[in-house]
Symmetry: C2
Subunit: 288 residues, 2 copies
Amino acid sequence: MKADGPIAIIAGSGQLPIQLVEHLERTGQDYRVLAFRGFAAPELRRRAHATADLLDLKTIMNVLEGWQPRAVSLVGAVRRPGFSALLGAYSLLRNMHEVKEVIARGDDQVLRGAVMLLEERGHRVVGAHELAPGLVAPSSLCGKLAPLDHDRQAISVGLDLLNALSAFDIGQAAIVAREHVLAVEGPEGTDGMLRRVRRMRQSWLGLRRREEGGVLIKAAKRGQDLRVDMPTIGPKTVLEAEQAGLSGIAVGAGSTLVLDQDETLATADRLGLFLVAVDLPWMEPHHD
Amino acid sequence: MKADGPIAIIAGSGQLPIQLVEHLERTGQDYRVLAFRGFAAPELRRRAHATADLLDLKTIMNVLEGWQPRAVSLVGAVRRPGFSALLGAYSLLRNMHEVKEVIARGDDQVLRGAVMLLEERGHRVVGAHELAPGLVAPSSLCGKLAPLDHDRQAISVGLDLLNALSAFDIGQAAIVAREHVLAVEGPEGTDGMLRRVRRMRQSWLGLRRREEGGVLIKAAKRGQDLRVDMPTIGPKTVLEAEQAGLSGIAVGAGSTLVLDQDETLATADRLGLFLVAVDLPWMEPHHD
């Protein structure tokens, strides 16, 4: 680590790495991108300074050694099995028994393990929210539509539920209609959960959907390290929510990333969904 | 209600109504079956004394009026959208606004609503576990295989999780591998959840499956009315669990129904899964 070194972006799949790189470029910051082969989007791979296989932790560490970055950020590799595969790479450094233990410990611990490993090597690990605060959902985030009373009830139940689940190694999102929990996010991710609710509603009598609506509530856990696997939404999330018959989306203010904030809000307005940020009782108050 | 009237079984889908009827027959008890058209299995419909559409609450009430049963049991209609459709039937008796409210309140409340409605009409509503105690999982339930240490850890996490979820209107089961929660049951039901985990594991790297195993934990909630929607497993549950790559199943002793107990245990033994009953810290201790 050198104080005047570049920012190193270790990039997995999705839009987040691209938007982070665009932000760093716009603000004239020195950066290097290490893209995961088979994961990083083509648009990002063209801009990458190095490429590595997910399992090749030795190359990753050597590349970072060469760059001497002042900070390292793990972004976009939030596709969880990808990350566990990365950590399967422990085997290149450590013994097989330890690898198995780490993998068995589940995603939260695996991600914390990745950060630990980087820190052991002397790197400073930072979150995307620290590098690009503009991507973070402000408390003032709000589309044209406002949640109705029964949506507010669903948001309140959802926050209570996510709070109750904080102690467990499980997802950061749920879908609630009034007081009725339709889904809790597991390792399948938010889009997977939204498609599940969509399928459930298609295969049923259709009665519930019209009556219920439902809200996607997504928030960081109590005690979550925001440097890894920070909750993220974008225009695609809004599209999936609409197709699942939901009436809106609520995200934790100050601890959720919103990709393409303008486009995300415009999509919500266009499809008739509300989109709001809510203060999380279990997080430090956020000042926009 | 007459003290010497028959037992009335209001029967939805699945094996539970059939096994309950067989038990009542074996023990020489007088009973009448009201089967839901389109839901009750053919084998049961042949034995039914009356048939009604799910939405036709008026017929249901008239039939019960004629039978003067000493007790009524709602079984097998645990297919939830079925039950909400039944209660959509409120419209035949009550006004539309109230119907919407009831449906919006979610499944737990809807089922409690059905019981309430029957009780308002003077019926005594009992659970399948009261009519056929032999179907209930005893504390001593145990196949040939015993859970390993990491399975016990998963069971413990799963029980903590279900306890934490008791306050919410959501399912009664979860799948946990060591400390890692793979799925929480929503309205899709236990089989739906097991198939979800199976699909997740097929689409991923296969790495986790071999390391993890995983346990299905199924239990009544804190404060659950066991007369409605009592947790139930059977041979099919074991088959689905095996296909999801799980190492075993743990159910709440005294508050879970096990269909075909011998067959269920034999299936678990044959497929190499453990099957145990565990005492729930939040239930009255169960004496076999």
